[in-house]
């Protein structure tokens, strides 16, 4: 398929002149095959300090009990489940990119899917740590598994938490397999380029004996498609089930049927924001501008605007339904969100999630790298606040006014959260150090059809509609990795 020419009106997915397969390999494997640079070390030290904070905070919690956190008799979940849902949500973009976009043949995903999938896995790991850590007796976490036992104890299939255990573990295992399968040809590349020794042996084992034969490639493609098929429902189901943790309860502010679609949209929203946060930096530091282009950035920004708008509509719908329901508890819960003691959290959420993504309607802003990066951070802050608002402001004032209290986090709460970010970045930095952060094999597929040089060749050949070529040239203007001078000579 690589030999087919792609329409000129499609923007290039790989930029740069005279790019060869070897060059792609060289550029992508640069951080893997060389000693890490200073930037990596600085990042790694900071991230591991964060991870250390996580270890300290979690150890304190495990040693003394959950009283180390700021929770109380009325607010039984706060930063823990906020963090959990936040991380699970972030993971969703990876699955969407790798599975849904594959099925929809969105080739632009090839440049970003590897990092996004890695992000998914690390985010789900962070989320899973919260599942265990938020338990009062984490050493009995296995009670949540339906293990046959002589006490004839069983789990409660009615409980959304039970479904959660399955949703998250399924999600993690499928994502891991999908990610690793995709990695096989690339690991094999590293193996083949390594000098004989320990390094080669390790990559050799990791490559599962990839031979690169046609049959292998064919099977690889088939497995990828099958796994994409399996993963696609997970994009919708996992966060649907996470939303059940709230939607199936009796709590005003939680008990709403809009939660599943609203949570899924929010998850994709925050996930793409996190992909932006990671890739904009990675792209710069690792010099991957030719593979992760402005087209990718802009596409993701468009998705952020779309999902952000869906989330915004959901927020408004919730308010409308609360009013329309006529239930005083429900009405109070929402008035309290907007005007109660946690009003600042609500308005942080509204401005970060609903208002700020609308700025991407301006092309200048959505193609600005610093702005995109800043906004991706804003969105992630907003999405954290969304979960905080849903969880804490609903719980802290529900039915019986005598139990209304305030929630104040302890430093351990903050430590666990900041620490989980440290943990995430530690894992991510190790990932880009030891595995290719761009799916080389998949990017190479695009070189002959969708790269700038291929398109340039088409233009040079002539036979193209002049208007389309003009459009194409116009589109190239936003790219920061395209030398526009090359196109001046073309009429």
């Amino acid at each position: 398929m690589a030999s087919h020419s792609e329409s000129i009106i499609r923007e290039p997915l790989i930029t740069g002149k005279n790019i060869t397969y070897a060059q792609i390999t060289n550029e992508v494997l640069l951080p893997v095959e060389n000693k890490p640079n200073k930037a990596w070390w600085i990042g790694f030290v900071v991230a591991s300090l964060g991870a250390l904070l996580w270890v300290v905070s979690i150890s304190l919690t495990f040693w003394y009990g959950l009283g180390e956190w700021g929770l109380n008799k009325t607010v039984g979940w706060a930063w823990d489940i906020t963090g959990f849902v936040w991380w699970v949500g972030i993971g969703h973009a990876g699955t969407l990119i790798s599975a849904v976009l594959l099925l929809f043949r969105q080739n632009w995903r090839n440049s970003i899917n590897r990092s996004a999938e890695a992000m998914t896995i690390f985010a789900v790991i962070c989320a899973a740590t919260y599942i265990v850590a938020h338990m009062g007796r984490p050493w009995l976490a296995y009670f949540t598994l339906p293990l046959p036992n002589q006490y004839v104890l069983w789990v409660n299939w009615n409980s959304a938490l039970m479904m959660d255990v399955f949703a998250i573990s399924t999600y993690f295992s499928v994502s891991l397999v999908f990610w690793y399968t995709g990695l096989l040809p690339d690991i094999a590349t590293i193996r083949d380029r390594a000098v004989p020794g320990l390094r080669r042996r390790i990559y050799s084992i990791l490559s599962f004996g990839w031979s690169g034969s046609v049959k292998t490639w064919q099977r690889f493609e088939t497995v990828s498609l099958i796994l994409a098929g399996i993963s696609t429902p997970l994009v919708l189901s996992v966060h649907t089930i996470v939303s059940f943790d709230f939607a199936t309860s009796l709590e005003p502010g939680w008990h709403t049927t809009i939660f599943p679609p609203y949570f899924v949209a929010g998850a994709i929203f925050s996930g793409f924001a996190m992909v932006q946060t990671l890739l904009l930096v990675t792209r710069k530091v690792l010099g991957l501008e030719n593979y992760i282009t402005m087209f990718h950035i802009e596409s993701m920004n468009k998705i952020i605007t779309l999902t952000g708008s869906i989330v915004g509509v959901a927020y408004l719908t919730e308010f409308f339904i609360a009013w329309y329901s006529g239930v005083e508890y429900e009405q109070y819960a929402f008035i309290n969100r907007a005007t109660g003691p946690y009003w600042w959290a609500y308005w942080s959420m509204m401005s970060c999630n609903v208002i700020s993504p609308q700025l991407f309607w301006f092309k200048k802003l959505r193609t600005s790298i610093p702005f995109s990066w800043a906004l991706s951070i804003v969105v992630n802050i907003g999405m954290w606040f969304e979960r905080f608002v849903i969880i804490v402001t609903s719980l802290h004032r529900d039915y019986i006014p005598s139990s209304w209290v305030m929630f104040y986090p302890s430093w351990v709460d903050v430590g666990v959260f900041i620490g989980s970010i440290g943990l995430f970045f530690t894992m991510f930095l190790l990932f880009i150090r030891f595995l290719p952060s761009v799916a080389m094999a998949e990017v190479k597929l695009l070189l002959k059809s969708s790269s700038e040089q291929a398109k340039k060749k088409l233009i040079d050949h002539g036979h193209l509609d002049a208007e389309q070529v003009a459009d194409y040239k116009d589109a190239l203007k936003k790219y920061d990795s395209v030398d526009l001078a090359d196109y001046e000579t073309i009429k």
Binding site: G67, K73, A160, E251
Partner: protein, 1022 residues
């Protein structure tokens, strides 16, 4: 004898088949490969050196590892000869006495673990106060003295006895006075012992000294009727009750007794007969009594006397000299109205006053005489013995001692070095006394100044008796051997006075056999044994003699006016300060009890602290907010306490509880709050607890440890309240009867074949006292978490009492918003005047919903429904996700944030082996990370069912009582089987007043509440 009978194992043996014969030759059915083993590599081979070393290494390593584990040594001594009455696992109950109340003490394996009311108790009919419930914990207090002390060091009893006797003899011989200072002695035998002691040492005299005395009432009765007694009040006989500053449902004289009387005229039974008393309260600080009043009018401390005078005027139609106009027009109207009501109820009316001023009480007496209360609602001829203290006597003692006239002072249950207003005087006085003996079981403030401490037994280790009111005698018997080397105070006195009987048990029995048993129609040994089983005797009351008022009411009124002028605060920083006793800590003697420290105040819901209660508007004027620390200064003494914004507090007044700021109470009570006693002063023969003080902001902040931080019920249906008028019109007013929606069930109904345990709570009976909270803590081993954890809103109580304020705009009492009931936070914040609030108390615990929201969300099925309608917790299965607590609309589930039983970082005072002996062995303590909640005392249900089963009979209604229900003097809680249509519970639930909290959620709660009815007079007051 040989037998020819043949036995065979099977047909094969009988028939002797060849195979069988062959097989039978061998020991084993299959040949064993012994030969192969012996000849093969097995034994024949050498043991290689390496294998040997491996085995040796493993063996030594494993043994070393195993030895590293410190195996705890549990020293348990089995009963060699088992006491007949002690069966492990079966509780024994003994009758005894707590503070004049007949009680039952529950013991397990020889140790008392719970105090319960004796159902025959004259005073409270089986109910008990929070303090009584908590008293069992004091027995296991590790701060108790373990040995007698002589001059600051441990000593033997012989040394102490010799020293004391020698000193007493010296004092007697030297012409010095000997004084026994005690809190009021109402035990006949103790009094007899003291009398014997005085007979032996004629220089001795006995002074009753109460930290919060009722000298004012006693002296007023002396003036009015020539009887220096504290009368016995009958609130049950009063249709109209007017209280001026008397907290009679709480700390005033006999709170439990009055609660029982009061509720008998206001609860379900009274309402069913269309009757309800009317209660009007004038007071400055919001007391628990004020929260229950039908109408409560805040008046300044300085105006309390004026209210009495105004009331007298209105009733008598005269105008006493010294009459002053009341500041608030509302109060004046209320007085006129109250007078009208009282007159209409002549002979069934009662006016009580809380002040310790003789003049105030003289006027109150005069009012009651006009109303014909004596012989009806007030009994002077069968007086109360609860408080006999005479402030003047104690002041005289201090002066004598300061002059060096006293040679010996003996303190029994008295701690003047802490609770006398002038601690320096006490110190100076004691400095001049040669022999100072304290019977305190702890080294308290007074004992610290004494040269002899002869630690008294805890009452659960003691023999004795009591008589709280005339004609009612109770017996005290020990339920455990003395834990420490202590001796009963009475026995010490007997020994020191060289009595013929030095064994106090014999003394008590003799006293009963000779004097008291006959009063109850008993006699001799059998009578004594009967007494020990029943616990009390009652004597028919004396008939009331007619009264004539001899007091000079005019003079009293003039004195009141003068006092009021003195007390009226003028100037911006001046405030009228009122000291009061709260229901938990009392006069301070309970300060070392963690259950009581953690018991939320019934009104403010504050734990572990005292505070300055200010009216919100007044606080705004001062520029202080809740939790800001203010300095209160008067008489050269000052304290710094946090502010509590108290709706209903009279403007320009501040109320501070005494009993805090102990320095020598023990680990728990030391430096909790600030001592407010030194503000008191002695004048006109009584110690007054009201004065003018200066108040100023300090700039510091000390957040209060409150268990409830939101105080309005937001107009929600959680609380239903109607006026008596509405109730009489429609008994189902305020409920949803006849308005029910059709409901649909997602689940199949639970099977409840035999029992369906449910509860009914009468909001009209509950006064909010909180005794149930302590009873529950004692029964269910509920951990104490301490001040910091309460500040983090993590108290563990399984039952709480929600207290809500509401506000009636324009004095209208109608229950809907159009007509003016203001309850929402935002509206309340806008209100100018927060003085006239009404209060509702609502006991709240697990509702044992039939459609329990907690049950569906637990991932591990740790909380499930029983076949008896209970929502149960399986602690061992709980992993602690807390989803159940989040999903509980009533927020009654409590999570163990820490291992409260063994976390050295914060002491909950129950973390030592000794104190943990108080735990109920029928209830497990919960580990950290586990959810817990009200179990409806499932252990009691099981025990009751078991008993009935053993006795082969069906369970009878009322046989099982849950802990909260049992201690409730007001009978606000009814528990029973809803499957039995004739049970008391079923009848209560069928009441028209029954509603279910949050019933619109269709969680089908198992606790029915009965609508609060208030006999309001607001319309007329407006």
């Amino acid at each position: 004898m040989d037998s020819n009978k043949k036995y065979w194992k099977g047909l094969e043996e009988l028939n002797k088949t060849p195979e069988f014969v062959e097989k039978n030759k061998h020991e084993f059915a299959e040949p064993l490969p012994i030969e192969e083993v012996l000849s093969g590599a097995g034994l024949a081979s050498r043991t290689p050196r390496r294998d040997f070393l491996k085995a040796l290494g493993f063996g030594v390593g494993a043994v070393t590892l195993a030895a590293c584990q410190k195996v705890p040594v549990h020293k348990s001594i089995p009963y060699l000869i088992k006491p007949e009455e002690v069966t492990p696992g079966v509780a024994n109950y003994y009758t005894s006495t707590y503070n004049g109340h007949a009680i039952l003490v529950k013991t397990r394996e020889g140790r008392p673990i719970k105090v319960e009311g004796n159902p025959g108790d004259l005073l409270a009919g089986g109910g008990l106060s929070a303090q009584a419930q908590a008293s069992v914990l004091d027995l296991y207090d590790t701060n108790r003295l373990k040995d007698p002390q002589l001059n600051g060091g441990d000593a033997g009893w012989d040394e102490v006895d010799a020293f004391v006797k020698q000193q007493l003899a010296a004092a007697q011989a030297g012409g010095k006075k000997i004084r026994i200072i005690s809190s009021t002695v109402h035990s006949p035998s103790t009094q007899a012992v003291i009398n014997d002691f005085i007979a032996k040492y004629p220089a001795a005299a006995h002074i009753n000294y109460d930290a919060f005395s009722y000298t004012g009432i006693i002296q007023a009765n002396q003036q009015s009727f020539g009887k220096a007694v504290l009368p016995h009040y009958n609130f049950d006989k009063a249709d109209v009750i007017v209280s001026v500053g008397a907290d009679f449902l709480g700390s005033w004289i006999s709170g439990e007794e009055f609660t029982k009387q009061y509720v008998s005229n206001r609860g379900s039974k009274a309402l069913e007969s269309k009757k309800m008393s009317r209660h009007i309260q004038f007071e400055s600080g919001m007391s628990i009594t004020g929260t229950n009043a039908d109408a409560r009018i805040p008046v300044k401390v300085s105006e309390e006397g004026l209210v009495l005078v105004a009331l007298y005027n209105a009733i008598s139609g005269t105008t006493l000299p010294g009459t002053k106009k009341l500041e608030s027009a509302k109060a004046a109207t209320a007085v006129t109205l109250a007078a009208k009501e009282l007159l209409a109820a002549k002979g069934k009316a009662l006016v009580v006053a809380g002040s310790n001023e003789v003049a105030n009480q003289v006027v109150a007496n005069a009012i009651n005489v006009l109303l014909g209360s004596y012989g009806a609602t007030i009994d002077l001829d069968n007086p109360s013995n609860q408080y006999k203290g005479n402030d003047a006597q104690f002041v005289a003692f201090i002066n004598e001692a300061k002059r060096g006239e006293v040679g010996a002072a003996i303190f029994l249950n008295a701690n003047p070095a802490y609770d006398y207003f002038n601690a320096k005087d006490v110190k100076d006085a004691l400095g001049k006394i040669k022999l100072k003996v304290s019977f305190s079981s702890q080294k308290d403030e007074t004992a610290d100044l004494a040269n002899v401490i002869a630690p008294n037994h805890h009452y659960l280790e003691s023999w004795g008796d009591d008589s709280a009111v005339s004609g009612y005698y109770t017996v005290l018997q020990p339920t455990i051997n003395p834990v420490y080397n202590t001796r009963q105070a009475e026995q010490s006195l007997l020994i020191w006075s060289e009595n013929a009987v030095t064994d106090y048990y014999t003394y008590v029995r003799n006293n009963w056999v000779n004097n008291l048993l006959t009063l109850g129609g008993l006699s001799g040994q059998s009578g004594w044994e009967t007494l020990l089983q029943t616990g009390f005797v009652k004597v028919a009351p004396k008939t009331a003699a007619p009264v004539t008022n001899a007091a000079n009411v005019s003079a009293a009124a003039q004195l009141i006016a003068a006092n009021s002028a003195k007390l009226a605060a003028s100037g911006d920083d001046k405030v009228e300060l009122q000291l009061y006793i709260n229901t938990a800590i009392g006069d301070g003697s309970y300060a070392n009890n963690p259950w009581l420290q953690e018991l939320p105040d019934p009104v403010s819901k504050v734990t572990w602290d005292n505070y300055a209660a200010l009216a919100p508007k007044y606080a705004e004027k001062l520029g202080v907010e809740e939790g800001d620390v203010v300095k209160i200064e008067a008489n050269g003494y000052s304290i710094e306490v946090p502010v509590l914004l108290q709706p209903g507090q009279a403007q320009g007044t501040v109320s501070v509880a005494v009993g805090y700021g102990r320095t020598h109470s023990g680990l728990v009570g030391n430096s909790v709050g600030k001592n407010a006693y030194p503000f008191a002063s002695f004048s006109n023969g009584t110690i007054g607890k009201t004065l003018v003080a200066t108040i100023s902001k300090t700039g510091e902040v000390s957040p209060l440890a409150q268990t409830q931080t939101h105080h309005s019920y937001e107009g929600r249906d959680v609380i239903r309240e109607v006026s008596l008028k509405e109730y009489l019109k429609d008994p189902a007013a305020g409920t949803d009867h006849g308005k029910e929606h059709k409901t649909y069930d997602l689940w199949e109904a639970h099977e409840r074949p035999v029992y369906d345990w449910k509860m009914a709570i009468d909001l009209n009976a509950c006064t909010g006292c909180g005794a149930c909270i302590v009873a529950c803590s004692a029964e269910n081993n509920i951990p104490v978490v301490g001040k910091d954890e309460v500040r983090r809103r993590r108290e563990m109580h399984w039952i709480r009492i929600d207290r809500y304020y509401s506000y009636e705009k324009n004095g209208q009492a109608a229950a809907d918003e159009e007509t003016g009931l203001v309850t929402k936070e935002k509206e309340i914040a806008k209100l100018e005047d927060l003085d006239h609030v009404t209060v509702v108390h609502q006991p709240m615990m697990c509702q044992h919903c039939d459609h329990a929201p907690c049950e569906t969300v637990c991932p591990v099925l740790a909380t499930v429904h029983s076949s008896e309608g209970l929502n149960q917790m399986a602690y061992n299965r709980c992993v602690g996700t807390r989803y159940c607590a989040n999903n509980c609309p009533y927020k009654v589930r409590r999570f163990n944030w820490f291992n409260y039983w063994n976390d050295s970082r914060f002491d909950n005072y129950l973390q030592n082996e000794h104190t943990q002996l108080v735990l109920n062995p029928d209830v497990t303590t919960r580990f950290r990370g586990v959810m817990e909640k009200c179990s409806m005392c499932v252990q009691r249900i099981q025990a009751g069912k078991l008993k009935a089963k053993i006795e082969k009979r069906p369970l009878t209604d009322g046989e099982i009582k849950v802990a909260c229900q049992q201690t409730c003097t007001a009978n606000a809680i009814i528990f029973g089987n809803a499957n039995d249509p004739n049970s008391e519970l079923s009848k209560a639930l069928k009441s028209e007043r029954t509603y279910y909290v949050l019933q619109e959620l269709n969680v089908q709660p198992g606790i029915g509440y009965q609508v609060k009815v208030r006999n309001t007079i607001e319309n007329e007051l407006a």
